[in-house]
Each structure stands twice: as structure tokens, then as C-alpha cells.
């Protein structure tokens, strides 16, 4: 069993400085690298917003009144770290910046030698993983998740009634995240301000800033932030280069120009599309049994929570019925139906590499019915039926794919003046989704 400390569903960020700074709310408090695709943040601020991040990327997805919606995409890292997200009103004359901190959990597997058959648990911070039983040679592999700031794990092994424990180091690179903000954005010819903000692990008092094309004058410093006035020395459009450095910092060079925006996050132009394909069958009693397949694609609009996505499915179902008529031989009926319609997917459970989603959808059901007998011409008719379906989908992450086992209950009807068929009922299909990364 693994225990995870209770986490608040929503994380709120408090402005680090003045009251005019934006307020930020995120839809999750836990980011697991390699598992979390994105984090949606709602930022309350009256005017145009600027944003910058210490890692990953950010895009503004929507704005309604004073509510801005941003989508932050994690960096392609796997080791635990901290991401800092800075938001400020673009025309702020003073460095009123809200910094939002996102802990990024890393995932790894500890390979260890212990007593053969021992039950092994690993304690990482306040979380415990396992137990996992060691094999006959004493080898054991325990998957763990590591929050930022934790550099050791406690391994507890129980064998033959005896418990042993030891502390093992975790190979986590040291990083000092910081984020840079410049305002007003765009920088006016009369100058503005520069702020460098950090977690405080390495004091911001040690940060240095140099500028080419502008003059810097220190405003304020504490352990978490350092601010300067930034006064251009050239005319409009002249390039300015600011270099941030310090002990333990990865040097960062910021290029900007008077009159040009630098911290404006791009509007989200592309919503990732997740395609899927499923094959299987349906069972609804009698001859309502046959082949089922579907392809579809879904998106997760920024305006909806990250656990929810919506999409469109196109499927095919087939069923047939052969019966014998007294003195007239056999007759054959076949139904080919094409459910097409929207669906919604909600992630109910996720523990890598497994996840369980709930899918629900409505579909129009164009269908084709053919009826053939030796004593008459073949007859083909068509119509449009309906389907409403819902059910769980079990997923297993494999690289950029998720293998899917989908079980759905479907109320489905295909009816004409001569036909009553239900090409739905219990739908059992398997396939894959391409989720990328």
C-alpha cells in the first residue's frame, strides 16, 4: 500500500507583493512528470496579463471578463523539481507579480538487493510505496514517486519476522528555479522594472543582473525576489539584453526591445487531439450480436477541467439473421449501422501506468438493412436510429499510447416499418489511444 499525504484539490497563489497583483487558482495540486499532461490555471486580473515560467510552457487559452484561463504544459523532465509561474498585469508600473509554485513529482523505480522473499517498502518523504516481495535471489523493484526537495528514501525490508531499514540516496539533480518578469510589457521608452523571483532555497539576495542597452538600478531584495528599475538607453526598437546570474543559478539571458512585448504568453492556437481506435463486439440479446468498431478523436478544451475531454466517434456495427420459411427456403437479413456522435470522457482514476475513464456519449445511428430471399429481389432500406451509451474504459499507458479496454452499456435502436434491431446493448471493445509524449 502506498500512502500519499492529503492534498487540497485546488491550489491558490497569494500575490507576493501589492494588492493589485493577480489571483491564481489551479485545477490540481499535484503534477506527476510523465503523467500530467497539463495544468489549467484561472487567473483573476482586470487587464491584459503577462506571464512567464521557470520551466515548461504556458499559453493563454481563454479570457472572459477578468477571468483569464492559462494552460501550463510541464517540461520534458522526469526528475522532481519545482516550477514557478509568474503573472502580472502587463501595464503594472510597479513589480506586483504573483508567483505560483507547482511541485513536480518525479517517478522512478528503485532496484535493490535484499533478503530473498522479503517484503520491501520504501518511504519517500511522507509517502510509502510497496510492499513488494523480493524474488528468490533477493532482487526487488519498487516504483516510487518523489516530490521536489526529497533526496533520500528509507527502505524497510521484512524477512522471517525481522525488519531492517536503511536509507538510500535518490539521484535527483539540484536545480534552483527562478522566473523573470519585466514590466510594463511592452517596455516603454521611459523604462520599467525587472523582477527575478525564486523559491527562496537559494536566496534572491545573491542574484545578479546585468543589462546591455539599458541601465539597472536595484529597487528591493529579499530571499525570494530581487527587483530593479530598468531604463533603456537607446531609442524605440533598440535591443536590450539582460543577463540573470548567481551562485547555483543556470544563467539566463533575456532579450527584449523598447515597445515590443516580451512576456506575453501566446494564445493557445492548437488543442492537442487524441485519436483512438477500438475493435470488438456487441451483445443485446437474440440476433442483436455482432462486430463493432470505432474510431474517434477528442480534445481537452482549456475552458474545461483537465480531467475532462470531449470528442467525436464514428463507428460501425454489423449483425445478421438467417431464418427458414416453410416451403420458401431461407431468408437473410443484415444490418450495418454507423453510430456517429459526440462523447465526453472523464478520468476517474489514475495510477501509472493504469487509468480508468468514464465515457458517455450520444450518437445518431445511420443504418442500412438488407433483406434477401430466393423468391424475391433483394431489398435494401436505410434509416437513422439513436444511441446513448456510457461505461468505463480501463487504460494502460505504453509509451505514447494508451491501450484501452472499453465496456459500455448502450441503448441503441435501428427501426423501420419492417425491422426492429438493437445493434448495441453491451459493447465490449479493445484498442488504443495515442496520447503522445
Amino acid at each position: 500500500m502506498r500512502s500519499v499525504p492529503a492534498a487540497a484539490l485546488l491550489l491558490c497563489a497569494v500575490p507576493q507583493t501589492a494588492v493589485a497583483a493577480p489571483r491564481v487558482v489551479a485545477d490540481t495540486s499535484r503534477v506527476v512528470l510523465g503523467e500530467t499532461d497539463a495544468v489549467v490555471l484561472r487567473v483573476i486580473a482586470g487587464g491584459t496579463l503577462s506571464a512567464s515560467v521557470s520551466s515548461g510552457s504556458i499559453a493563454e487559452a481563454a479570457r472572459r471578463g477578468d477571468q483569464h484561463t492559462f494552460r501550463w504544459t510541464p517540461p520534458p523532465l522526469r526528475f522532481p523539481a519545482t516550477a514557478l509561474l509568474a503573472f502580472w498585469e502587463s501595464d503594472a508600473a510597479t513589480p506586483d507579480v504573483t508567483v505560483f509554485t507547482l511541485p513536480l513529482w518525479g517517478r522512478t523505480t528503485l532496484d535493490m538487493d535484499t533478503e530473498p522473499g522479503a517484503d520491501v517498502r520504501v518511504q519517500v518523504g511522507e509517502s510509502t510505496f510497496g510492499p513488494v516481495k523480493a524474488n528468490a535471489k533477493g532482487r526487488v523493484r519498487v516504483p516510487i514517486e518523489v516530490p521536489p526537495g526529497v533526496r533520500t528514501a528509507k527502505v524497510i525490508a521484512v524477512a522471517k519476522g525481522q525488519q531492517t531499514s536503511r536509507t538510500v540516496p535518490l539521484d535527483v539533480p539540484r536545480t534552483t528555479p527562478f522566473v523573470v518578469a519585466v514590466g510594463p510589457d511592452p517596455l516603454p521608452g521611459g523604462g520599467g522594472w525587472l523582477a527575478v523571483l525564486s523559491t527562496g532555497e537559494v536566496s534572491a539576495r545573491t542574484f545578479t543582473a546585468r543589462a546591455v542597452g539599458a541601465r539597472l538600478s536595484e529597487l528591493d531584495r529579499d530571499d525570494r525576489r530581487a527587483t530593479w528599475t530598468l531604463t533603456p538607453t537607446g531609442s524605440a526598437g533598440s535591443p536590450i539584453e539582460v543577463t540573470i546570474d548567481g551562485p547555483g543559478l543556470e544563467r539566463r539571458v533575456l532579450s527584449l526591445a523598447v515597445g515590443e512585448r516580451v512576456n506575453s504568453p501566446p494564445a493557445e492556437s492548437q488543442v492537442p487531439i487524441v485519436p483512438h481506435a477500438l475493435l470488438g463486439g456487441f451483445f443485446a440479446g437474440g440476433a442483436n450480436t455482432g462486430f463493432a468498431a470505432e474510431v474517434g478523436a477528442e480534445v481537452r478544451p482549456a475552458a474545461v477541467p483537465s480531467w475532462l475531454s470531449v470528442g467525436l466517434d464514428v463507428g460501425v456495427r454489423s449483425a445478421s439473421l438467417r431464418t427458414s420459411l416453410n416451403g420458401l427456403g431461407s431468408v437473410h437479413s443484415s444490418v450495418l449501422a454507423f453510430p456517429i456522435g459526440p462523447f465526453a470522457r472523464a478520468r476517474l482514476y489514475a495510477k501509472a501506468p493504469f487509468a480508468i475513464d468514464l465515457r458517455a456519449g450520444l450518437a445518431a445511428l445511420p443504418f442500412r438493412h438488407s433483406f434477401t430471399a430466393a423468391f424475391e429481389q433483394p431489398w435494401v432500406e436505410g434509416g437513422v436510429g439513436l444511441e446513448a451509451a456510457a461505461g468505463p474504459e480501463v487504460l494502460y499507458r505504453l509509451g505514447p499510447m494508451e491501450l484501452a479496454l472499453d465496456v459500455r452499456g448502450a441503448w441503441t435502436v435501428a427501426r423501420t416499418a419492417h425491422l426492429v434491431a438493437h445493434p448495441g446493448g453491451l459493447l465490449l471493445t479493445a484498442g488504443a489511444r495515442y496520447v503522445g509524449r
Binding site: 440479446g285 437474440g286 430471399a373 423468391f375 436505410g382 426492429v420
Partner: protein, 216 residues
């Protein structure tokens, strides 16, 4: 996705609505006969018979009942054959002339073949004679022999109506005469007693058998 939708639309475009089309009579064989005959005719038709399919009950039903009329007269013993043809017997009493052939399915859909069947004038005798009939057991089949007499007796190949003076005789319509003669198996359903059989052709020429006795 666009290709898939196009294929779907194409597939559906080939499907009809759910209203069944009217039937059509392609041919009737034979298309003519002689007055007084009652040939078995065969209609070749294009028809979708009324049907229903229930996948849940795994049941299919087809209403194969049909009515065929020639000149407004229903033909007897119509039946749908496994190859889709419809057979029936033309009424022997149809006078000479050209007649429309009509087909009606169980759900009321119908077809018409204008002037599809012709009845030509036939050869008739003046009367009929029976070979003597011995006493017979009631409700048991026995054989009678008829002869066309006078007129065009030797060319007569029509059928005659059979009647018994008591009870019911089967069949009521004979097989066709061959060169003016007919040997026919009949059964009379009645109690014991004396009885005669009368034969009458389409133009009213008739003949009556001797009186014979039905016994138990």
C-alpha cells in the same frame, strides 16, 4: 475521417426508404388458352413481399399471400413458389376475349398486366356420356370415364364441372379431356343411397351417369 464520412454517405445513399415498391408482373405463361380449359398459369413477378424482421426475437415473417385475377375473376389455388413465381388455375368459364391480369399482395400493393391473358374460342361437344358406374363405397375414391359426344367432341380438351345428385363430389372440376375422353378419379362424400353424377362444360353441354348405389 473525411473519407470515412464520404463512404458512409455513399453507402446510405444506395439504401431506399422503408416503403416497399409496388409489384410488377413480368409475364404470364401460358398467355392464352381455349374457352372451356382451365390451364395452370405461372406468373413471373418482381415483388417484395410484406415482411418483418425482429432481431431480438430472432424471427422473420413474410406474408406470401397473393390474389391473382384474370378479367376480375380470382384464379384458384394461387401459390408462391420458392423461385418467386406465382401459380394458379384459370377459371374454365372465362368467355373468349383478352383480359387484364391483376396481382394483389397481402398489404394491398398491386400490379396490372393489361390484356395479359387471352381466351380463344374452343371446340365443344353436344353432350357427355359416362361409362356405366358400378355401386361404390361411400367416401372412397373410384374411377369414372366420360366421353364427349357430338359436335367437335374429338377436339374437346376442356374441363367439366362435376356434380353429384347427393352429397359432395371431389374434385368439382375435372382434369382436361384428351381427344374427347376423360378418365377421372372422384370421391363422393355422403351416406349410403342411390346417386348420379352430372358433367357440364363451359357452354352448358352436359351428361349424366347411370344411377349407382353408395354403400358403407
Amino acid at each position: 475521417m473525411r473519407c470515412l464520412c464520404a463512404a458512409l454517405l455513399l453507402l446510405l445513399a444506395t439504401a431506399c426508404g422503408d416503403e416497399l415498391p409496388p409489384p410488377q408482373i413480368r409475364s404470364i405463361t401460358p398467355a392464352e388458352t381455349e374457352h372451356g380449359s382451365a390451364p395452370l398459369v405461372r406468373l413471373e413477378v418482381d415483388a417484395i413481399f410484406p415482411f418483418s424482421v425482429d432481431y431480438g426475437a430472432e424471427a422473420t415473417s413474410v406474408d406470401s399471400e397473393v390474389i391473382v385475377r384474370i378479367g376480375g375473376f380470382p384464379i384458384a389455388a394461387t401459390a408462391l413458389l420458392p423461385d418467386g413465381a406465382i401459380t394458379g388455375q384459370v377459371p374454365y368459364s372465362l368467355p373468349p376475349g383478352a383480359y387484364d391480369v391483376a396481382l394483389e399482395l397481402g398489404d394491398g400493393r398491386s400490379a396490372l398486366l393489361p390484356h395479359g391473358f387471352t381466351v380463344k374460342p374452343g371446340a365443344f361437344p353436344e353432350s357427355f356420356s359416362f361409362d356405366p358406374i358400378a355401386d361404390q363405397r361411400r367416401n372412397r375414391p373410384f374411377t369414372i370415364t366420360l366421353h364427349a359426344v357430338g359436335g367437335q367432341a374429338a377436339q374437346f380438351k376442356g374441363v367439366v364441372q362435376l356434380d353429384s345428385s347427393r352429397g359432395r363430389i371431389a374434385p368439382e372440376q375435372s382434369d382436361p379431356f384428351v381427344a374427347g375422353e376423360l378418365t377421372q378419379m372422384v370421391t363422393i362424400f355422403d351416406g349410403p343411397g342411390d346417386v348420379t353424377i352430372t358433367a357440364r362444360d363451359a357452354e352448358g353441354h352436359e351428361g349424366t351417369s347411370n344411377t349407382f348405389r353408395l354403400t358403407n
